[in-house]
């Protein structure tokens, strides 16, 4: 039961990450469209800039949990790599709890701003007048996934189902 739940969390992060990969290509298409519209068709658009920004907000937060799952967040391991395995486990749980705590705040207050935008019908200050909550929603959703991913790894590490691992990061 617990294992199935944890596997479901992992799978959600993976699928959400795949969605993000698609969204990043969509950004590329939108920006190219804008340039082509302006220079080739001589008809600048009003929707591309804002839409591209919106897609990026969704894309970044859709993939955040996957990046944690794959241990790709950039961290400094120069000190912790010398810790004995037992302490490494404690250290990793501590790190994941920091992420979980941060995510919890982001979700609770994030839902707050979405609700407020819905209540007052706030819209973006652009020609498109998109409802503001469309921009705000990915924050609580993304950090829910991220927080769940952190929680899943805390559980696995505590139960000894997962060995502490070093981060693999690249920039």
């Amino acid at each position: 039961m617990l294992r199935a739940g944890l596997a479901a969390i992992d799978a959600t992060a993976r699928w959400s990450g795949r969605l993000a990969v698609l969204l990043f290509w969509v950004i590329g298409v939108i920006v190219v469209w804008e340039v082509a519209a302006r220079y080739l068709f001589n008809a600048p658009t009003i929707w591309t800039e804002e839409t591209a920004r919106l897609v990026m907000v969704w894309g970044v937060y859709a993939a955040a949990a996957l990046v944690l799952q794959e241990r790709r967040l950039i961290a400094i391991d120069a000190v912790v790599r010398w810790l004995p395995p037992g302490l490494q486990r404690v250290q990793e749980i501590f790190v994941l709890l920091v992420i979980l705590g941060f995510s919890t705040v982001a979700v609770i207050w994030g839902i707050g701003i979405v609700q407020e935008s819905l209540a007052v019908g706030r819209a973006s200050a652009t020609m498109l007048r998109l409802p503001q909550w469309v921009f705000e929603l990915p924050v609580p959703i993304g950090f829910t996934l991220l927080g769940l991913q952190a929680l899943a790894r805390v559980i696995r590490l505590s139960l000894g189902w997962e060995a502490p691992a070093r981060s693999e990061s690249a920039l």
């Binding site: 698609l22 990043f24 920004r53 970044v60 996957l66 967040l73 950039i74 400094i76 982001a106 920039l171």
Partner: protein, 429 residues
């Protein structure tokens, strides 16, 4: 005093292995909560940090370079340059530096540049008898050109944080970047002259040169288009990244067609985007969390305190730059590029105006010191890249980078005495 405590806690979190994004975000959050400020600033920062048209250039440039990489453009560039200069004394080393510089013009990342060129250049150079530490040092340092020669992701982030013009920053990086590449080449030439342990490459025939150059030419065309578009003001950096991406897709399709492969490979585009997505997210999470941290730090008046402390103790810009350089070099031993930029720049920026230092110049100066940070042990991302790609010992890589750090510091000195090196292209014409 507050500044010291905050910095100490931040360092402690980072050394405990908390990912840089969450060390900054978590500490920022705690500072806000401690001062009884509404935590609604957290989701707002998380949104406004990403919701930025300029930052769209980050995923687009990354996508462009991963598409080109997966299309095998790294090998093509190296082969083309090698066919021209490979037979010179130290020719392979020179070809490596030039390849790094050329690849920097289509990639905004040091790590991507070092990794790409290392894959092709390390085996070739080792086979010809170049000593391993020299090879590793050369490529680790050559890779750092990626963030100085435009496009550059750290320069985009610097521009976003300081609200300076990114086209100006890009243009300002060109001459120092080329000079630095020149410095590396000069060192390689001298090194080759006083060492005769390696076998030179046979001179390539004109037919070989033509073939290799024709393959590399479309990639150079992409780099030239990006540069010309930004320089002329025809494209914003984001748009030039989009145009670069479209061209990259076309070029890779063409190269695959010439090689008799199916021109459209969905697998290639998917894998390229997977890579670009992951890197974008790791970068932007740091950027947004740094934004929350920056807000908190500002509410505690830390930048003003630092500016005050600096202006009372340091009166001239020269001393200021010297002090900042030493601090950045020390930080660079432990921090990687982006976190250095995002922690230090917001704190120091108010002091620049008081010192009469040009913010565009400061951006370029900062990039060179970040480049040093990328190759100074124990934490230097490019060192790890070489270690991973070349299966080398970290000690060997580290042994090879010192001369290049010296060259970079020489460049910092040169840039300090001749600020026009950076400012001429954006403002001098």
């Amino acid at each position: 005093m507050t500044a010291v405590i905050v910095l100490a806690v931040l360092m402690a979190l980072l050394l405990l292995g908390v990912p840089i994004a969450f060390a900054l975000g978590g500490l920022g959050l705690a500072m806000l909560a401690f001062a009884d400020i509404s935590l609604v600033m957290v989701p707002q920062g998380l949104l406004s940090g990403v919701d930025n048209f300029v930052l769209l250039a980050v995923p687009l440039f990354l996508l462009m370079s991963t598409v080109l990489l997966k299309g095998g453009v790294g090998q093509d560039l190296f082969a083309a340059v090698q066919s021209w200069v490979g037979h010179w004394p130290g020719g392979l080393a020179i070809a490596t530096v030039i390849s790094c510089a050329l690849f920097s013009a289509i990639s905004g990342s040091s790590v991507a540049t070092a990794a790409t060129i290392a894959v092709v250049a390390v085996p070739e150079m080792l086979r010809r008898g170049y000593p391993p530490p020299f090879v590793y040092g050369l490529i680790a340092a050559g890779g750092t050109l990626g963030i100085l020669i435009p496009p550059s992701i750290p320069l985009i982030v610097y521009g976003v944080v300081t609200e300076e013009s990114i086209p100006s920053l890009f243009l300002a990086g060109v001459i120092p970047g080329l000079l630095l590449a020149g410095g590396f080449i000069l060192f390689a030439l001298l090194y080759a002259r006083f060492s005769d342990r390696f076998t030179p490459v046979a001179k390539a025939s004109w037919a070989e040169r033509r073939r290799a150059s024709l393959r590399a030419l479309p990639t150079l065309f992409i780099a030239a288009t990006i540069f010309a578009g930004i320089y002329s003001g025809a494209f914003t950096p984001t748009e030039s990244a989009g145009v670069g991406l479209a061209l990259a897709v076309v070029v890779v399709m063409g190269l695959r067609w010439i090689d008799g492969q199916p021109p459209i490979s969905l697998k290639l585009y998917w894998e390229a985007a997977e890579e670009a997505t992951r890197t974008t997210v790791t970068i932007l999470l740091i950027v947004v969390c740094a934004k929350i941290f920056g807000k908190a730090v500002t509410l505690y008046l830390i930048p003003q305190d630092v500016a005050m402390a600096i202006t009372t103790h340091v009166t001239d810009a020269g001393t200021f730059i010297l002090v900042v350089s030493v601090v950045l070099l020390i930080l660079g031993f432990f921090l990687e590029a982006l976190s250095m930029l995002l922690i230090v720049v917001p704190v120091l920026f108010p002091s620049l105006r008081a010192m009469g230092i040009d913010p565009i110049w400061f951006g370029i100066y900062f990039m060179i010191l970040i480049e040093c940070a990328l190759i100074t042990p124990p934490v230097g991302l490019n060192l790890f890249v070489l270690q991973a790609v070349a299966k080398a010992k970290l000690g060997e890589v580290v042994k090879g980078v010192w001369p290049f750090i010296a060259i970079m510091l020489g460049m910092v000195v040169l840039l300090t005495f001749f600020p026009q090196l950076a400012l001429f292209l954006p403002f001098g014409l």
